[in-house]
Every structure is written in C-alpha cells, then in structure tokens.
Amino acid sequence: MKRFFLLFFLIANLFAADATVEIIKRMEKLPTIGLLDSTNHSVDNDFKSRFFKMLVGDLKVSTHFNVIDSYYKDEGGSPNSYFFGQNPDLILKYSLEESFSSEIIARVKLIQANSGETRFEKSYKVSQKERYPFLAHRIIVELNDSLGHPSISWMERFIIFSKYTNPKESEIVIGDYTLTFTKTIIKGGLNIFPKWADNEQEGFYYSDYNQRFPTIYYVNLSSGKKEKIIHSEGMMIVSDVSKDSKKLLLTMAPKDQPDVFLYDVSTRKVEQVTRYGGIDVGATFVDDESGIVFVSDRLGYPNIFTQKIGTQAVTQMVYHGKNNNSVTSYDRYMVYSSREKASEFGAGTFNLYLISTKTDFIRQLTATGKNLFPRFSNDGESILFIKEFGSQSALGIIRLGANKSYHFPLKAGHIQSIDW
C-alpha cells in the first residue's frame, strides 16, 4: 500500500503543474455529516422531506463531505444517539418554521459530534416557500465556508437557460442549479442562447429569432427593461462576455457567412475576428482576453482552434476526435464536447474532455450518452453541461476536484443552451 502511495505521489508530482492531475491529490478523508430535523408538526411532512433532500443534495454536490442520507426526526435527547453505528464527525441540526405569509425560517446549528461543541449557528429566511432551494443553498454555502472548505458559492448563482417547447418556440428560464426552482422570463417565439451580461447576473443577452433578422437584446433583470443591441442576417449569438462585461464575442453572418466578431459594448463598434469561408462559431476568450478559442470546420469537420485577436493565423488545439463542436475555457484549461464514433453505447454519443493548453494531457469527463454545451463555473472548479436522455434533458454538473458528476432533470421541454 505504501508503495502504491509513493508511486502515486511521484506521478502526481510529475504533473504537479497541471490541474488535470492535481485534483487526484485531493483525495483526503472527508468529514462525515448527518442531519437531524427538529421541525415541529406545524410544517407539513412533504415540505420537510423536500427540504431535507435539498440539504443532503447540496452537501453531496459540494463534494466536501461524506453525507449520511438517512432522515432523522429530533425527538429529544443527545444528537449523537440518532446516528448509532454511523459515526458522524458533524451533525447539522435544523428546524423550519412557516409563517402565515408563507415565509420560511430555518435555524441551523452545526455540532461537532464527539465533543458536542457548536461549530456554526445561524438563522435564515426566505419570503416565499417555493424559493426554498435558495434557502438550502445559502445554508450549505455558509456552513461550508465556516469549516474553511473551498467556496461553493456558485450554488447560489442563477442558471439561465433556453428550452425548446415546440418547433420554432422556446422559453428563457432562470433557476437554481438543481432546476427545482424555475421562473420563465421570456416566452413566445424562438428566443435562444441566453448569456449573463455581467458576473453579478444583473442582466443577460439573448438572441431573438422572431423578426426579419436575428437580433441580440440585453435585458436588465431587476428593471425588466430590454434594449436592442445588434442584428445580423443568418445567425446572431453572444458566445462570450469579457470579465469586465465591456466586450462581447459574437457569432454573426452579415454576409451569410458565420464568423466570430468582437463587439465593444460602450462604443458599439464591431470588429471581425475570423475570416473563413466555412463555419467559425462559439468563441470564448483566452489568454487574458487577447485571444479566442472557437469551433471551425476548416479541416472538413468541426474542431477546436485558437487565434490571437487582430491576427489571422489559427492554431489547432485538439488532435482527438473528428467532431468537436463546442468548447469552454477557463484560464489555461478547455473543455470540449466530442461526438464519438459508433460504439457499444450506440451512435450519437457525445463526451466531454478536459485539456490543458500547456500540456498534451486529455481527461475524459463523461462516458455515456449525449453530453453537450459545456460551460466552466466562474471559479473554474466545475463544469455545467446539458445531458440528454432520449427526449428528456438534464443539467449536468461535474465537480472537477472530486471527479464526480450530478444530473438534474428538466421536468418539461428540451434544454437548448445554458449559462451560469
């Protein structure tokens, strides 16, 4: 065993500069946590069950805990007595209250199981019952912070997505990352490719395909005001937004030819970045926004390329697969989706792969099914993607650090695109 760990340590150090391998080193013992519900009979059992499952789900998806997923109702006595034989390190004791106005209050207390010491204690509230997922996410994000684990604040971010409802019809929806809470923002006709306009998620861009020309609109989420940004013949999509929100990468086709363009939000100036007679789409910023990675069919099939903005020379980034049609980047890492050859899993399998731009390391992130539209989280620690099962689709989250994947099915409709 010692030899194994020594070998493992040496291999890990050999690639220590590359996060695609670094993650393996983090396999340390996780604290075991159990939950104890002290809610009284005034709250209905169905809600208690849903809230418990949401807390358990968040704890699991954080990948920072081993979670005891048995439900225990607090009947008095020592918290430890409920977890006989399960040996939790931590016990999350909580109670819920519901007001007449449907406000939900949660009081939580994190107890060190062996000493009975209180590690964390706080009250939370949410004004409408249906928003309970955000209440649970807030509790787990802060509980996680209190223990000094890497932040999981992404759990509190909105997911924005477009879902097909009928031919040429889609809706733009925001929701929590589990899609338990969703709210339709735009409805009627074909409205696709929503993209957050800023890191604070105060507004978003989307493509309106209901007019003579595909048109980009900006919508301020709090005021509801929308503003026409730019239109183009053929197609018009916001592919990426710069960190300072001042520049956009667009795919548009003013001369019927899909190419990548750079748009300055304040001056409204448009600069053509790629010039190729085939297909150039889906660009994202790389190298401190001095360059782009994008999808192009310049080799006769879709593949991933990079180009410095202001030059025309392109570099092929991926030498694996013959149909790599979507890419996301974070720092010097990229994740792309690749259509596999026919396999035992059937034709039409799409898998996600992680590569470093500095090494030739490739890590396969998914194994089966259609895994599409990868998007890095804003901390680079997770990948959000669309997972399709037959006619149903789900939101997938890969926690890169723990090499774990989670799926959250959409109840109705088919996800077209996502952003978070």
């Binding site: 339709t184 509801g224 979507s326």
Partner: protein, 183 residues
C-alpha cells in the same frame, strides 16, 4: 411586445428584516446574529418590459394568397448528414423552385431560405450548419437566375423539426432548407 412574457411585474417582498428567535426546536440560546435572507437574488428579478417592436405583417390579402400558394408549391431541399452541399438529386427541385420564384407575379416578393438541422448537431455549430445549407440554396437559386437581393437566409438549427421520431428517416427529413416568401 408580443414575443415577450411579462413574467412577473411584482417585485418580490424584501426580507432582510430580522426574525424572531422563539423557536425552541434548535437550542440556539441567545444568538445575536442577524437572520440571513436567501432572497436577495430573487428579489432583484423583475419582469421584462413589453416595448413594441415594429410589425412586418402584410395586410394585403392578395399578396398573402400568392405567398401561400408559392410556399405550398416550393419543394424542400434535403441534405446529407453534417453536409451543406446541394445533392445531385435535389438539383431538379431547386430548378423548379427557381422557376416558381421567377414567375412574373412573384418578382416583388422576397425569399427567405430557412436552413434546418437534425438533432445530432449541437448548439452554435448546428445553427451555423443550417445557415450554410441556406446559403448553398441561395447560391444555387442565384445561379438559376433569381436576383440575389431578393433572397435572405436564416438558420433555425435543430429548433424546427418536422419529424420528432428517433430514426434515420426522420432525421433525414429534418436536414432541410425551407422557403418562406415575404412581401
């Protein structure tokens, strides 16, 4: 604006106010911490305003009839998997469409070529593939003598299937260019 839903004009209740500490279930004793609200993000969400967008709808009944007739007779152009070149077996349909669009009574109508894809492509690339299909058809119509300024192209990617079954015949039906006439 008719394409937008005013999803919710009511700004949701602000809930940063403190909460009572009377619950005995969790023995929080005399904590002085402020109750944390998880509403802050949701409270900032409003509806989307309904600014009017110019309608391009034609009112002339005669023109509408003509458009309906031409659209009914125009033949879809089908494509091979992942390809955007016009197949040999589609040349005749294309020539027939060109003749239809060049008829004297139709010369004032614009032609919108809509490119469509099957479900096997993904995201932006699929929309671009649909556009290249529409562009191939536009170029072929120009070669058949239809003026280029009458033709516009748009891609609907995989959003506009005519067949939703999961088999090869169905996917082949979805890989197509369709024609819409505009006054």
């Amino acid at each position: 604006m008719k394409h937008l839903l005013i999803a919710s004009l009511t700004v949701m209740m602000l809930v940063f106010s403190g909460c009572s500490q009377k619950s005995p279930q969790v023995d929080t004793t005399t904590t002085t911490q402020t109750t944390s609200s998880a509403d802050s993000k949701m409270d900032s969400v409003s509806g989307v305003d309904s600014t009017a967008i110019d309608s391009t709808e034609s009112t002339a009944e005669k023109v509408a009839k003509l458009i309906a007739e031409i659209e009914k007779n125009a033949q879809n152009i089908y494509f091979d998997f992942d390809k955007y070149n016009i197949r040999e077996d589609m040349q005749q349909a294309l020539a027939a469409n060109a003749a239809l669009f060049k008829k004297a009574e139709a010369v004032n109508l614009s032609i919108k070529v809509e490119g469509n894809c099957d479900e096997w492509g993904t995201d932006e690339y699929n929309y671009a593939l649909g556009l290249k299909r529409a562009k191939s058809v536009k170029d072929a119509l120009i070669a058949e003598g239809v003026p280029s300024d009458r033709i516009m192209v748009v891609s609907y990617g995989e959003s506009n299937p005519v067949c939703s079954e999961s088999n090869k015949d169905c996917w082949a039906k979805n890989r197509r260019a369709e024609f819409k006439l505009l006054p």
